[in-house]
Symmetry: C2
Subunit: 196 residues, 2 copies
DNA sequence: GCAATTTCCGAACACTGTGTTCGGTATCGT
DNA sequence: ACGATACCGAACACAGTGTTCGGAAATTGC
């Protein structure tokens, strides 16, 4: 009693259509009708599977989650002693898809997209961390911070230095995450020594 | 030849209405008609001043920007050797408004709101940093990272430890920002051995 | 105060998009 | 082949957007 081929076909068609649209339009401006046209799926059929555009997005991202887990678990079977860097792999992977980065950077729809992706990243990371120590810091805060820093770096990369190599970006990412800001970098916000 | 009082009244009424609504509804579900009802303003009048709900939001946040600049420059007290801590002041200030935090945390509308607030925070910070040093790190990346870390911390606070004191939260914030994660905390995401 | 100007109101309108319903048709699993 | 299931697509009610326009009301400058 496997899954009916028709439902599988319909769903993947909708997933693919959404992704295709995201790559060329701002997420916020995409309508259900756009998706139907792109996927060649009937209106009632759509609502038989998903409750809304956002619902479709979330379920679409489950694929991303699986992909991330795969990438991340490829480490255990690889060179685990020398260390494996999922973040760098992600930077490298993402660097090949400028349109995806543009979608994540985009104005109104970008925020919604980013939040959804953040959630997936956090889930994967949370699972990967297991019940490991967090060095005295609250576990969930660490997770959110890692995700946020990754996203910030990625966004900055695309917006300000798109020509930079993934390895360099990764180095910046690690600096921010593991060492923090140099003493004087955050002066005005942290400790004000402002000549007012 | 000042600004017509009717204009001023209408605009502040709309600003206030939006803020009031944000405090009790998810931003995404707020309609222009809600705003009109709350502010007692005619439909055509609204569109004579703003092009959309998002436009109104952005202009409303200009007030927030002014407030932040005031807070940041009002460092008359406590400006000793240890300096003045705008972040801590912000944590303390925000802790008094649970509904605002809820609005920023909220699902769909939260993301849009956060992005708008992030933009304002980044502007203020950018101006405050002037042409100061950034310790070898790209200036804009530092700004975005500070803002993102602040927001992450704030969000985590509200979601997971609302009873925590502002000073403690500020300490966590500074730890993340200035020292980074302790070795091992981010083990699954970051490589252990540091090739830098 | 008074007049000229500006703004506000509110109803009407066209438009876009959402989400549901239902009978007929095509496709699937066995 | 047959029964079950999924898909189609048109029609519908509904909510929200953004514009237009004439008349009423408030404001400013004098």
């Amino acid at each position: 009693m496997g899954i009916d081929r028709r439902v599988a076909r319909t769903r993947t068609a909708l997933y693919d259509a959404l992704v295709a649209l995201i790559r060329r339009k701002d997420y916020a401006t995409i309508t259900v009708e756009d998706i139907l046209a792109e996927a060649n799926v009937g209106r009632s059929t759509f609502y038989a599977h998903f409750t809304s555009k956002d619902d479709l997005l979330q379920r679409s991202l489950e694929r991303l989650r699986d992909l991330l887990i795969e990438v991340q678990q490829g480490s255990g079977h690889g060179a685990d002693a020398t260390g494996w860097d999922p973040a760098r792999t992600l930077f490298e992977h993402v660097s090949e898809y400028a349109d995806v980065q543009a979608a994540l950077a985009g104005g109104h729809g970008g925020a919604v997209l980013r939040e959804a992706v953040d959630k997936v990243l956090a889930d994967v990371l949370r699972q990967a961390m297991g019940t490991g120590l967090v060095g005295g810091l609250p576990r969930e805060l660490v997770i959110q911070h890692v995700v946020a820093t990754f996203n910030t770096t990625l966004h900055w990369w695309f917006e300000h230095r798109p020509e930079m190599a993934p390895a360099e970006v990764d180095a910046l990412f690690r600096q921010l995450l593991l060492r923090g800001l140099p003493a004087g970098a955050a002066a005005p916000f942290i400790v004000m020594a402002d000549p007012a």
